[in-house]
């Protein structure tokens, strides 16, 4: 059963990918969706068995690598953490598969799309069920590949290709850190299997790694290197630049990969490796600071973006920051809890945005929308639900998880915790503001699209609406249902040994005993943000423009995303292009080609011409050559004899 969960999507991808022409568009959709539905049903069964009934198990499939002390097998490891991830991934993926049938109905290469989606799901499941670092890395690279393929799905658009390449290359930076982390882990622990490493961690705590004559704390180095990988995949501050551009891909891709699943792999990894991070307080602090900074930073950019998908993308980036600083203060269960609720409401928001885009004839700019809420009632409703959940309005999913995170940050009772708490509160306020800015600009006010587009505005077909409704239910109830298990009274029985939290780091427990104002503050700032958005975009629509004029530098700064792209362009891209061009033109073209193939062939032709010219046709020349030959040979011998 456990193997089937992982490999069913691969089978679907294989059939749709290689036999897409044979089975046709409809066939590809049925095969991939069928495999996904099965996988998701089994995933729910597995969640019940593992998390509720406590049947934690690891299924060895085959020995993968055996070389010296390096020994690892391909395995499916099912503990609570995995079961939760499998549930989230297969559930979201299934509904997004179904949604894609409607959304991509006009596309010309449906089998390819469905195959990529399923392949992605396979890699993601392989990632979360990994029993060792190498399989984790396999899934990690696999989802990166699928992300690349899907961002560049419309390969005839230059912008999509550029975005795909950017995503791939930025992820390489993170993966480089991740790979180094794995190598270092093997160096320190002589194993890459999770169980062996986790057992050995307490004994190795405080040991040193020598590098270039300096010695560093081993666990800190390992965790920081691994965290670099997580930063790349989860688009944390510094390595976040690819995520907004990734919105070039089809909207279901944004929902599945760049909101619900792949980008959360970094969070998953930190939680999975909690037995290591727990012994590296320094690394945990870094995780918390980076996460909190990202949460706030991405929210500020979200304020001024005009592309509907980009707003949600920055929102994703920001929410991932929340998850990371939760992990950074050892509230891993809160991080995973938020990961799950976020998967529901963010997938919902993306799919809702997709529905809007579908209705607006592929328009993504919110300045050209507005006043369409009557035409698209379902979409309008689910966007509200998603936004309420995102903003953390009480009793929606985000309320439980986000408040828990903020309380845990406060309860950590450290400088880092306070930093995370206050930035988190600020980000919550900004989140509410940009969410309602999005709602108001998209659905309310006077229509800003041209008549042609407005005439076409229509609700999406049922095949797209049903997934929206299902996810909306998830966005409403998942927090309420999950709270008891993830952080409440049933917490210990639920998680068992999947996560390790040292007693002195038990922030979840402490989070239940924080002052009342700490609990109340998030509930206050969210409505405040909504109110401000209402004031700006409904009550006084001329105000944003005025503000922009009076605070132009700040506006430009935010609009240009803190100039990260420009900075990277100057620091890395241009030198790299310059170096590459130099090596290409000078190194390859001039030196290697010039002295290699081209040079040799030119020399050969010259020599051939000269050799041909030796043949004059005159007998006396020939005779002369013979005599010279004899004389030369004789001279050589006489010279040698003396």
């Amino acid at each position: 059963m456990y193997q089937a969960i992982v490999f069913l999507p691969l089978i679907g991808a294989f059939i749709a990918g290689f036999f897409g022409r044979v089975i046709g568009d409809r066939g590809a959709q049925i095969v991939t969706c069928g495999c996904m539905v099965l996988s998701a049903l089994l995933g729910i069964v597995a969640l019940h068995q593992v998390a509720i009934l406590g049947q934690v198990k690891t299924v060895d499939i085959f020995t993968w690598i055996q070389s010296g002390t390096l020994e690892l097998s391909w395995a499916v490891r099912f503990d609570t953490l995995t079961a939760v991830m499998v549930f989230v991934v297969s559930f979201c993926s299934t509904w997004i598969h179904i949604y894609s049938i409607g959304y991509m109905s006009h596309d010309t290469s449906i089998p390819r799309f469905m195959s990529y989606l399923s392949l992605f799901t396979f890699f993601m499941l392989a990632l979360v069920t990994a029993d060792n670092f190498v399989q984790l890395f396999f899934g990690w690279e696999g989802v990166g590949l699928c992300s690349y393929l899907l961002i560049g799905f419309w390969y005839d658009r230059p912008s999509a290709n550029a975005a795909a390449i950017k995503a791939f290359i930025v992820n390489r930076v993170g993966d480089f850190g991740f790979a180094l982390g794995i190598f270092a882990t093997y160096l320190v622990f002589d194993s890459v299997n999770f169980d062996a490493v986790f057992q050995a961690v307490p004994a190795k705590a405080g040991s040193k790694i020598e590098f270039l004559g300096q010695s560093y704390d081993a666990m800190t180095v390992l965790c920081l290197l691994l965290f670099v990988g997580a930063m790349g995949k989860s688009a944390q501050l510094g390595l976040h630049t690819w995520l907004p551009d990734a919105m070039e891909g089809p909207t279901p891709v944004s929902a599945l990969i760049h909101a619900a699943t792949m980008v959360t792999a970094g969070v998953f990894m930190v939680c999975r490796l909690s037995p290591m991070f727990e012994y590296a307080p320094m690394a945990l602090a870094v995780v918390a600071v980076v996460g909190a900074s990202t949460a706030f930073f991405a929210a500020t950019i979200g304020l001024v973006q005009n592309d509907i998908k980009r707003v949600i993308a920055y929102s994703t980036c920001s929410q991932l920051g929340y998850m990371f600083f939760a992990a950074g203060v050892s509230a891993y269960s809160a991080a995973i809890f938020h990961l799950m609720t976020h998967a529901f409401f963010k997938a919902l928001l993306f799919l809702g945005a997709g529905s809007v885009i579908h209705a607006m004839s592929d328009e993504q700019d919110m300045r050209k929308m507005g006043g369409i809420w009557r035409q698209v009632p379902y979409t309008y409703a689910v966007m509200w639900i998603g936004s309420l959940a995102l903003a953390g309005i009480p009793f929606f999913a985000g309320f439980y998880s986000k408040d828990l995170i903020l309380e845990a940050a406060y309860a950590a009772n450290s400088g880092v915790g306070a930093y995370a708490f206050w930035l988190g509160i600020g980000a919550a306020f900004l989140t509410a503001f940009y969410s309602w800015r999005l709602l108001f600009m998209t659905f309310h006010g006077t229509p800003r699209a041209d008549e042609h587009v407005m005439a076409h505005v229509h609700e999406s077909p049922m095949i797209m609406i049903v997934p929206l409704l299902v996810l909306a239910v998830g966005a409403v109830v998942s927090g309420f249902i999950g709270y008891e298990y993830f952080a409440g009274g049933k917490m210990t029985a639920f998680w068992k040994d999947a996560l390790l939290v040292l007693p002195q780091h038990n922030t979840i427990e402490a989070a239940h005993h924080v002052p009342f104002w700490v609990k109340a503050l998030p509930i206050v700032v969210a409505p405040a943000g909504i109110a401000l958005a209402y004031y700006f975009y409904i009550a006084r629509p001329e105000l944003p423009g005025m503000l922009v004029r009076t605070h132009e530098p700040l506006y430009k700064f935010l609009l240009n995303k803190w100039y990260f792209d420009e900075l990277y362009d100057m620091l890395f891209v241009r030198p790299a292009v310059w170096l590459g061009r130099g090596l290409w033109k000078g190194g390859d073209g001039y030196v290697i080609d010039g002295f290699g193939p081209d040079g040799i062939s030119a020399a050969t032709i010259r020599l051939a011409r000269r050799a041909g010219r030796l043949q004059t046709g005159y007998v006396y020349h020939y005779a002369f050559a013979m005599l010279i030959g004899v004389v030369a040979l004789v001279s050589w011998y006489l010279w040698r004899l003396h």
């Binding site: 020599l607 041909g612 020939y622 013979m626 010279i628 004899v630 040979l633 004899l641």
Partner: protein
Amino acid sequence: MTPTAVPALLPALPEIALAVIAMALLMYGVFGGERSPRGCAWLAVAGLAITAVLVLVANGDRAETFNGQFVVDGFARFMKVLVLLGSGLATIMSMSYMERERMERFEYSVLLLFATLGMLMMISANDLIALYVGLELQSLSLYVVAAIRRDTVKSSEAGLKYFVLGALSSGMLLYGASLIYGFAGTTSFVGLARLFAESSGAAPVGVIIGIVFLCAGLCFKVSAVPFHMWTPDVYEGAPTPVTAFFAVAPKIAAIALFTRTLLGPFGDLVDQWQQIIVAVSIGSMVLGAFAAINQSNIKRLMAYSSIGHMGYALVGLAAGSQAGVRGVVIYVALYLFMAVGTFACILSMRHQGRLVEGIADLTGLSKTHPMMAFMLAVFMFSMAGIPPMAGFFGKFFVFQAAVQAELYSLAVIGVLASVVAAYYYIRIVKLMYFDEPIEALDQRIGGEMTTIMFATGIITLLFFVYPLPLMNGAASAAAALFGG
């Protein structure tokens, strides 16, 4: 006056038989008149076949006769068979050509027989004088054959050039022989060998100089650089069947003579002559590779190709070992098939009844003559030394011997030269297969040509399937030369 004992004639029976047949054919031709040439040619082929049988039936031991001037051993027998095969095939290939070009003369076949007789004598020569006699018998016939088409300037020019330069080379060879005799006191190979074995490799300067001149003369015969200059002009000028003959039989005979001379009497002076052979071999391989690139005439191209191939054969000789000789023998044997097959293709290149010689005429051959194009492609790949064609194995064994003899730079240069040479061989394949035909060649190809083309093509292509007979033959031939 004491009666001179009649020397044993049995070892020389094939040569005697061939001489008698040739003279009988001369009579037949003279009295047969106009109608005789074709019959004469077939009779010549039969004569060559009889000779080959006589060579093969003799028992395998080493035998000397005519006061040690003439020797028969495994090496001689093997090379003689190759020479006879080459001559026979060349004779067959020339028949229809001669008729078509209105130049059928019975003397042609007879001259080929005499040339072949000279070659057999060369291969069996066991004395400097015997060597010279055999060589001149061969050469004089070849001079005439090269100029057999008296009414064209080119053919006459080719014959004359060959003659003048050949005379020069004969002079050098004789001068070298006289130096060796003067300093060593004997012309007998056996005597010379004994002498140098006793002095354990030391030799007077005069002998060394003599060897250099002797080598120069022999290099001329195998057309090795820098004594190769006659080759392209003669190959181009001579009638194509004559060129085909030139490219095969005399080359094999000369290589055999060269090998026997250097390893027999001068076997203990390897250190002295090895450098000559290395230098000459490198020169031949490199020139053969580079000079052929710009050629537009396929006969000229084949001339440079044969220069290159002789260079490779000399690589084996330069090794101076039994493995090296085995490599040489295998190389020339396989070269025989490749070269004959290629010339069969060239002789089939006719455009509106006329023979054409341009490489460009082969353009698009695969569309008009798929089988011929395939065969020619096989020969070209083989000449370039691409596995699994026969030519690859030829090169492999000589290079192996060179490496064993620690002549690393020679082997490396040889391999590099073969890379360059591959260019012009494979260019022909490219022309045949990838370019559109401009003017189709004539459809009809003679039956003899097709047979020869296919037989040699299959041997070249499938040699690797059953290489044992040739390998064993070559090994025992090489062993015979080393007295094993």
